[in-house]
């Protein structure tokens, strides 16, 4: 009998242990196993309500009953029916003031229950403007003129899907804030004027940047559509351009494909085409770039020599680190991967006394997919003319031209900062579930 009593005592002890263990090992409520992530729901709701800046407007118009009525309706409509909310707007103070000063609050329940969560969202006043003032290229050093070829009497090639005029307008919007003067060269007659050493509207002619928006074609003024400029399929005109770039210390920008491969003038070549069916254009071929470099290097005119441009496919050429940094600095984001099919050989640098001003794309196998070349005559250190050659395949992305020029000249950006009191308000959205605990 004694043993039985002992066993009963053991059972009582174990039962006590079980009850004690069960008491302390309290399992959570089923809803706590997989709770609705109220914090994330709250944050994404605030973001959604501010997607068109309606939340920001409401945060700064706390006395506007109409706006707040709309906000309350939108909030009620966007949240699930079993979710309670309390939205509060705080003024963000500064200095010795109270950091957060409550301005307004709306809610759809007296209490959010025992379990709730919240997110905060900082809104900016619509009266605040974040301004950026760029430094002007050439402002300190002389020059600072950007010529954009926008000739109405020329056709482009390898700018498929665009017109030179649309590219010119985009380039104007992109780059004009960074130059002292930006001049749209509206026709080939105006191009002849600047090639003649004259300005168009009082701009500084020397040290200018000239962007050819016509792709592989170069506009040619009618006065040059004859001998001797027509020699070599108008390679002599390219030679002449090289001389002018040297004389005026211009930076000539070729935005896509082969540089100087065609010349175009719709009035002078109305019945002639570029061998691909585009009228108003003549094909110069690969000798165009040879002639240009000879002119740039002040050599005698000629087109002999091996081609300076390769037609090999180089997919996935990559922006150089300097260019990527410029993308971040100026907020221009073309794809860092591009395809190059018209890269210039690096070996030409010795032949024509060129130094690398900047690699826009990393060199690949002895070829430069995108580079700014500076001409520096032997025995000197002075730059006398530059060429930016983006040997990419069509269709051009003019943002690459912009990034290339900006990373080369690197004008500084002066950003205005607004930290004045009253420009920011904190919106806190607290959510709870019906049934609370």
């Amino acid at each position: 009998m004694m043993r039985t009593i002992e066993v009963l005592i053991v059972i009582i002890i174990i039962t006590g242990a079980f009850i004690a263990a069960s008491f302390f090992a309290v399992l959570p409520w089923p809803r706590q196993v997989s709770p609705m992530n109220l914090r994330r729901l709250s944050f994404t709701t605030l973001q959604m309500l501010d997607s068109n800046y309606d939340l920001s407007i409401a945060a700064f118009e706390v006395d506007n009953d109409t706006v707040w009525g709309q906000l309350q309706v939108a909030l009620s409509a966007s949240l699930p029916p079993n979710v309670l909310f309390n939205l509060t707007v705080y003024e963000v103070g500064s200095g010795t003031q109270q950091l957060y000063d409550m301005k307004a609050s709306i809610s759809n329940a007296e209490s959010l229950g025992a379990m709730s969560d919240a997110s905060s969202y900082l809104t900016a006043s619509s009266n605040v403007t974040f301004n950026t003032v760029p430094e002007k290229i050439g402002e300190q050093t002389g020059g600072g003129t950007l010529y954009i070829l926008n000739c109405s009497d020329a056709n482009g090639w390898w700018i498929t899907g665009y017109t030179a005029q649309s590219l010119a307008q985009d380039l104007y919007k992109l780059l004009s804030p960074y130059f002292v003067d930006t001049v749209m060269v509206q026709n080939t007659a105006q191009l002849a004027t600047i090639l003649g050493g004259n300005d168009l509207q009082g701009e500084t002619h020397q040290n200018a940047v000239v962007i050819n928006t016509f792709g592989e074609a170069v506009p040619i003024p009618s006065a040059y559509c004859q001998s001797p400029y027509s020699d070599g399929g108008y390679a002599r005109y390219s030679y002449f351009l090289g001389q002018k770039v040297r004389e005026f210390n211009w930076t000539w920008c070729s935005i896509v494909g082969y540089p100087f491969y065609y010349v175009s003038n719709t009035a002078a070549f109305p019945t002639q085409q570029n061998d691909w069916g585009i009228y108003g254009m003549r094909q110069t071929g690969g000798v165009g770039s040879i002639a240009f470099f000879r002119g740039l290097d002040n050599q005698a005119y000629g087109t002999s020599g091996s081609a300076v441009t390769d037609s090999g496919d180089r997919p996935n050429v990559v922006l150089s680190q300097d260019a990527i940094e410029a993308c971040n600095y100026y907020g221009i984001y073309p794809s860092i991967y591009q395809t190059s099919t018209r890269a210039l050989a690096d070996s030409i640098r010795g032949t024509y006394h060129l130094s690398v001003g900047m690699h826009i794309f990393n060199p690949v196998g002895g070829y430069n997919p995108g580079t700014i070349y500076n001409h520096v005559s032997a025995g000197t250190s002075t730059i006398t003319g530059s060429l930016m050659a983006l040997g990419l395949t069509r269709t051009p992305d003019i943002r690459l031209t912009g990034v290339g020029l900006l990373s080369y000249y690197h004008p500084r950006l002066y950003r205005s900062e607004y930290t004045a009191y009253g420009t920011s308000r904190l919106v806190v959205l607290q959510l709870g579930l019906v049934g609370g605990a």
């Binding site: 002992e6 997989s34 729901l41 309706v73 409509a77």
Partner: protein, 405 residues
């Protein structure tokens, strides 16, 4: 001696029985705790996975606008930050909502999201991303299953109340928890003209406001023909919430055109005769003339027309009649509106969203959660092409655990 033996036997028996009972009781408590931990881990995984999907554009970042097979899964709109989802990446998800459609002239099946009677989104199976691929890209193959649903937060229900003289609609605008009171509605009534060779359409724009119950009435006095084919698209917006509703009326309900998305990168849309897909047994098909236009949603919630090349043509049923092709020349979301004409008094209009947001199509992608032992869910509020959506992820474990004993 005998009583002592009996005492021992009773004690041992009772002791063993009690021990077994308590082992069972403790075991059940431990099992429950383990299950809780596993469920909790699944819930945490669901939350993380949903954020991974919505806050990454995937690799490559523009996979939604091309036909490449992504090497990383993500749905964020690459042109934005935060919870803004690409309307094109969602188009490339193989929909679980509708049965696939087979089109014998291309030999392909098409993922099917068709809302209503004449609003199609049929995407080639060679272009869509399969659920199995998404599992592998997310690194949860054989460990978890999921279903992602994207549902518009604001619904705009349109009911035709009077057919003509005047044409009158009632609109009911509701959020998930509350009617959208005093919301501005921007609408576009597209009326089909069947005169001339090819069909054409006229657009009638306007604005209205909902009342306190989220209702509004639209009246078109100029519509006097009760058989006039039309489509009505209405955008309701209030305080950052934007929703879309649409309806059509056609006078040729069986013979119409069906658009198929054939190539994303080129925006190539095939236009087929409906008898090639449905009503195959009908012996009296007729040629259908069509005219395609693209409308995109501007920032002020009005629709702007963009001309298409080769927008007009005709299609017929059968082997000798090939499908036609139009190309959408833009990466911006919009609506492909195709007016069609069977005869001088029979025709209609079909619509296809280019980017799911322009017609607020819902998306269901993934496996079936209904037969799973336990499913964790989580949700986010997102915008897709400016339209408010709720993204909900259901996640379940495939490791097969359950309570024992």
């Amino acid at each position: 001696m005998v009583s002592s033996t009996i005492d021992h036997m009773v004690a041992v028996t009772v002791f063993l029985a009690a021990t077994m009972l308590f082992i069972g009781l403790f075991n059940q408590t431990i099992q429950t705790a383990v299950i809780y931990q596993r469920h909790r881990a699944t819930a945490t995984k669901a939350s993380d996975l949903l954020d991974n999907m919505l806050l990454s554009p995937g690799i490559p970042w523009d996979w939604g606008k091309s036909d490449v097979v992504p090497t990383g899964f993500g749905l964020q709109d690459p042109e934005f930050t935060q919870y803004k989802v690409s309307p094109f990446s969602l188009m490339r998800l193989n929909s679980e909502a509708g049965d696939p459609v087979y089109y014998y002239k291309t030999g392909k099946s098409y993922s099917n999201i068709t809302v209503g009677d004449k609003n199609f989104l049929l995407v080639s199976n060679t272009s869509v991303l399969e659920y199995s691929s998404a599992l592998q890209l997310l690194g949860i193959n054989n460990t978890y299953g999921f279903q992602l649903t994207m549902t518009p937060i604001v619904t705009v229900e349109i009911t035709q109340e009077q057919a003509a003289s005047p044409l009158r609609f009632s609109l009911d605008v509701q959020g998930t928890g509350f009617p959208l009171a005093n919301a501005e509605i921007t609408y576009c009534l597209i009326t089909v003209s069947l005169g001339g060779g090819s069909p054409s359409f006229n657009s009638n724009y306007g604005t209205a406001y909902t009342d306190a119950e989220g209702s509004a009435t639209l009246v078109f006095n100029g519509v006097t023909n009760p058989n006039l084919s039309y489509a009505l698209v209405a955008y309701a917006h209030l305080g950052g919430l934007v929703g879309v509703g649409y309806t059509e009326r056609v006078s040729s309900g069986k013979q119409y055109v069906i658009p198929f998305v054939d190539d994303f990168s080129e925006g190539r849309i095939l236009i087929a005769h409906s008898y090639d897909i449905q009503y195959y047994e009908d012996q009296h098909p007729a040629e259908i003339k069509y005219n395609a236009s693209f409308l995109f949603l501007a920032e002020d919630f009005t629709l702007r027309e963009m001309p298409l090349e080769n927008s007009a043509g005709h299609v017929n049923y059968g082997d000798g009649s090939p499908y036609e092709v139009v190309n959408i020349p833009t990466d911006n979301p919009g609506i492909l509106v195709i007016t069609y004409k069977k005869s001088a008094n029979q025709g209609g209009v079909v619509m296809m969203p280019w980017g799911i947001s322009s017609l607020a199509f819902p998306i269901v992608f993934g496996g079936d959660p209904s037969k799973q032992e336990w499913v964790a869910t989580d949700m986010r509020q997102v915008t897709v092409g400016g339209i408010a959506y709720r993204a909900q992820l259901s996640l379940w474990s495939l490791e097969g655990y359950q309570v024992i004993g």
